[in-house]
């Protein structure tokens, strides 16, 4: 601390004030008559969510501290922020594809770190889970700024040297979004532009329910017809909303709907499932007479975690579901033990020996919501015993949590699960950087797997 005019001020602040008075502190000239004003570029400035963006700062003084800051507002109006500290190189540029962050939301060289490193801004609502864009037809708007020195966005005043606005889209131009309420099936179909026919995916999410559209929208943007299917917690499904009231015939109808669609190749349809969606995908492929071309399973069980009410897979309400819940010191709940193979209802365990198509199983090793490692082991053993281990591709990511989603979106280690009957925050697991790496790598491998099995 320094005493300046009788007031105690932290040293860091004093140095910055001096920098403002004399523009040449330590030989740094932020503005110069022989150099254009600083410039921040992002390319492409309108990109798909899974496109990499190249973020660069130009016309800066050499070897100087700068901060690049990103801000984004979600559909619900919550503000998310990320920032990273850099030192410009000898030609006065900063390039996030080349340069390491030395502080901020992430460290090291991470070209997309400002995106997956987004966190709720100070003062935001608790327990936010960001990567849940409800309106997939509109983009996320990101404001990126280049600030003088190594600062954090909430420090005001900070000198903004340059700014750029970027848009990130789930839907490529020409992708069509079609709401499906047909034959009792509730879902949203995304079709790529063009005459088709296209290979297709059936897209299943977890017990959070509702209709999650954004992954399907991205598949369609990459040339695959994709159908997000609701099976629990949707007003257009038979109630009550907290149970699964649809069974095998429902999923078969959904698959049939895809097969019958004039713009879909009936023999090039895969199924992707996350969490409970994994069980549904495995069940469909092994029991029901449906023959998908491939399966992609992310962090889910090989049997039902909820007692089945009937042979078709509908569930019944039971308080026993909660007996495997565990709590941490803050009262956050982990559902992990619910899906331990030993705790799955034995009659619901999928007969994987009947599987005939390639299966990719993706494990987040820090999954606190599902016993992914154990289920992956179970699947591997079962297939091996049936002489079908060549069907399995297993991807395992240390430090990754439950919600392995399309890349460059932030991961929430925990988020609000329910408000009634009590407020519950659930743990998903996953540490920021390894989870982001898992999302990037797995998405690439998912698209390659789809390419191999659906397009060739």
């Amino acid at each position: 601390m320094i005493a300046l005019g009788g007031k105690m001020i932290p040293c860091y602040t004093v140095q910055r004030n001096l920098a403002c008075i004399q523009r040449t502190v330590g030989g740094v000239r932020w503005t110069s008559s022989c150099r254009p004003a600083p410039l921040l570029t992002a390319s492409p400035v309108r990109a798909l969510i899974d496109d990499k963006i190249s973020i660069r700062g130009h016309f800066l003084p050499p070897r100087c501290p700068v901060t690049v800051c990103a801000q984004m507002q979600s559909d619900d109006g919550d503000l998310w922020e990320a920032f990273a500290h850099f030192n410009t190189n000898s030609d006065g540029t900063v390039n996030l594809t080349r340069d390491p962050s030395v502080g901020g939301s992430y460290l090291g060289c991470e070209p997309m770190g400002l995106l997956w490193g987004l966190q709720p801004a100070p003062g935001a609502r608790e327990g936010l889970r960001q990567a849940e864009k409800k309106k997939v037809e509109t983009p996320y708007v990101m404001l990126m700024s280049l600030l003088k020195g190594h600062v954090s966005p909430s420090e005001r005043p900070s000198t903004e040297l340059a700014a750029v606005t970027a848009e990130r889209w789930y839907m490529a131009p020409g992708v069509r979004r079609i709401e499906i309420r047909q034959n009792g099936v509730v879902g949203t179909l995304f079709l790529p532009p063009g005459p088709g026919p296209f290979p297709a995916m059936l897209d299943l999410w977890g017990m959070g329910g509702g209709l999650v559209e954004y992954r399907s929208a991205l598949f369609a943007s990459r040339g695959y017809a994709s159908f997000s299917l609701a099976y629990i917690g949707h007003k257009d499904l038979p109630g009550p909303q907290n149970l699964i009231n649809v069974g095998d015939p429902y999923y078969k109808s959904a698959f049939q709907l895809l097969q019958d669609h004039p713009q879909v190749y009936p023999d090039r349809i895969g199924i992707i499932g996350l969490s409970f969606g994994v069980y549904l995908a495995l069940r469909l492929a092994s029991h029901s007479g449906i023959k998908p071309s491939c399966l992609i399973c992310i962090n889910g069980p090989a049997g039902s975690t909820i007692k089945l009410a009937d042979a078709d897979g509908r569930t019944e309400q039971t308080e026993n579901d909660q007996k495997y819940w565990t709590y941490d010191d803050q009262g956050n709940v982990s559902f992990r033990a619910v899906s331990l193979p030993a705790n799955l209802s034995p009659e619901s365990k999928v007969k994987l020996e009947h599987l005939t198509c390639p299966l990719m199983y993706i494990v987040g090793e820090d999954d606190l919501s599902a016993s992914s490692v154990e289920n992956a082991n179970l699947i591997e053993e079962t297939l091996s015993a049936a002489g079908k281990s060549q069907l399995l591709t297993r991807l395992s990511y240390p430090g990754a949590g439950h919600l392995i989603e399309p890349p460059y979106t932030p991961n929430s280690r925990a988020s609000l699960w329910s408000v009634k009957p009590q407020k519950l925050v659930t743990l998903w697991g996953g540490h920021l950087a390894p989870h982001a790496a898992a999302q990037e790598d797995s998405w690439k491998k998912i698209l390659e797997f789809m390419e191999t099995n659906l397009r060739h």
């Binding site: 503005t31 254009p36 090039r268």
Partner: protein
């Protein structure tokens, strides 16, 4: 073991770009040596359809990359990454004399790029393509704001770049066709320059009073820019095309109120009765109307109206008095204005006066009159409605040859942006944001 039919993959990156951004068109997953046609289709705002196409053959990996592989035939040939856009032409059966101009800049230009089997020359709309994608081309980058301006009885639109600013400013003038044409100003704002498109031949005030505007109209526009809280009053440029050049040069040299950091003049001339009003300048041109020529297709050639270049100094802007950097862009095949000859005369005047260090001339062989932002389709002639009372509709010959003109547009735009940035941003005394180059 059944052979599944091949599932062709077509991608365009970026699928959403700015109008002056390049894209990569990639066709994959076909057999090697496969003959295909890549086709572009655009329906413009007035409902007309435009198309371009090119013939390719896949390489050993079954791939065509339009940025690297040569087109064997079509609306363009050779290796032309952006040929699918600049060679767009009205589909067979369209009206003649069409010119593509986007008037609503808030929405993108939508182009459908498709792949057809075989080397096709026509009938695309009756065939089923193998694959097709949609590409959006935007005049406005994200965050650019469109602000209609009515102060001071102006008919204008201001485009502010994204960010806090302050930004350098620019006054953007089109030519003798009048109307409020916004797309170039929107694009310049996407490059960090707060730009105001100004309608000065058919503004609201002229429609109401019947009187043409004069110098004070332009000075008002300049002042609106100068006083805008997000614009650096000391960094304002002017850009004029065709008749807009006449106004720009007059303001740059003679106006007491307008102090320009630099000026860009495209396809224009310094020939005008100095001290005359806008109306009088137009009258001077009309006075030479007997020099109008017609080509073999009855298309109007107006370039001779200003030739020979007068020696009388009262009929030319005194270029020796210019005090700011000037970029002249001219097409040597301009059939509408004798832009090249005027550029040479301006150069000579400035050399004699000793201020030629301010002048840069970009002169393009076989380029015509309408040198516009790049990758836009080319019109060698199109219907033109004069702003006279009553207006007359003619088929004006602009000149230029497709490939040379398209290259000129690309080169000129790039150099214009560099010129503007150097003169508007060089030596800033305090932080200004320049988002997006």
């Amino acid at each position: 073991m059944s052979m599944k039919p091949l599932c062709v993959k077509l991608s365009v990156q970026p699928s959403r770009g700015l109008v002056d951004e390049k894209f990569t068109v990639l066709v994959q997953n076909l057999l090697p040596g496969f003959q295909l046609t890549v086709h572009a289709l655009h329906q413009c705002e007035d409902g007309h359809s435009w198309e371009a196409f090119a013939h390719y053959t896949t390489d050993a990996t079954g791939t065509v990359n339009v940025s690297q592989d040569p087109s064997l035939d079509g609306t363009y040939s050779g290796v032309e990454p952006m040929g699918l856009l600049w060679s767009l032409r009205p589909v067979p059966g369209s009206k003649s004399g069409l010119r593509m101009r986007k008037m609503n800049v808030l929405t993108p230009m939508v182009v459908t790029i498709s792949v057809y089997q075989g080397h096709q020359m026509e009938g695309f709309l009756d065939r089923v393509s193998l694959a097709s994608v949609v590409v959006e081309r935007w005049y406005m980058a994200p965050g650019v704001r469109r602000v209609p301006i009515t102060d001071g009885k102006l008919t204008a639109t201001l485009f502010l770049p994204s960010g806090a600013g302050p930004f350098p400013g620019l006054l953007d003038l089109w030519g003798g066709g009048g109307k409020l044409v916004e797309y170039r100003a929107a694009l310049l704002a996407s490059h960090g320059i707060a730009s105001m498109a100004l309608d000065y031949l058919t503004p609201q005030i002229t429609k109401e009073t019947g009187k043409m505007v004069d110098n004070d109209y332009f000075e008002t526009a300049y002042r609106v820019l100068e006083q805008h809280p997000q614009i650096l009053g000391s960094r304002i440029a002017m850009l004029g095309l065709s008749f807009g050049t006449s106004v720009t040069l007059r303001m740059a040299v003679y106006s007491q109120d307008v102090k320009l950091s630099c000026a860009v003049c495209i396809s224009g001339s310094h020939v005008q009765p100095i001290g005359g009003s806008v109306e009088q300048i137009l009258a001077y041109f009309n006075g030479n109307a007997d020099k109008t020529r017609f080509d073999e297709n009855n298309q109007v050639i107006w370039r001779d109206l200003l030739l020979p270049i007068p020696t009388d100094p009262s009929l030319k802007v005194d270029m020796g008095r210019l005090q700011c950097p000037l970029l002249l862009v001219v097409g040597e095949d301009d059939q509408n204005w004798p832009a090249h000859e005027c550029a040479m005369d301006m150069k000579e005047m400035m050399e004699r006066a000793g201020n030629s260090h301010l002048l840069t001339v970009l002169s393009y062989k076989n380029a015509g009159h309408l040198i516009e932002p790049p990758f836009m389709p080319f019109a060698r002639a199109s219907t033109f409605k004069t702003v006279t009372n009553p207006p007359t509709k003619v088929m004006a010959l602009w000149g230029g040859e497709l490939v040379a003109h398209s290259r000129a547009q690309e080169d000129a735009w790039r150099k214009m942006l560099v010129f503007l940035r150097e003169n508007l941003y060089g030596g800033m005394k305090h932080g200004a944001s320049f988002s997006n180059l």
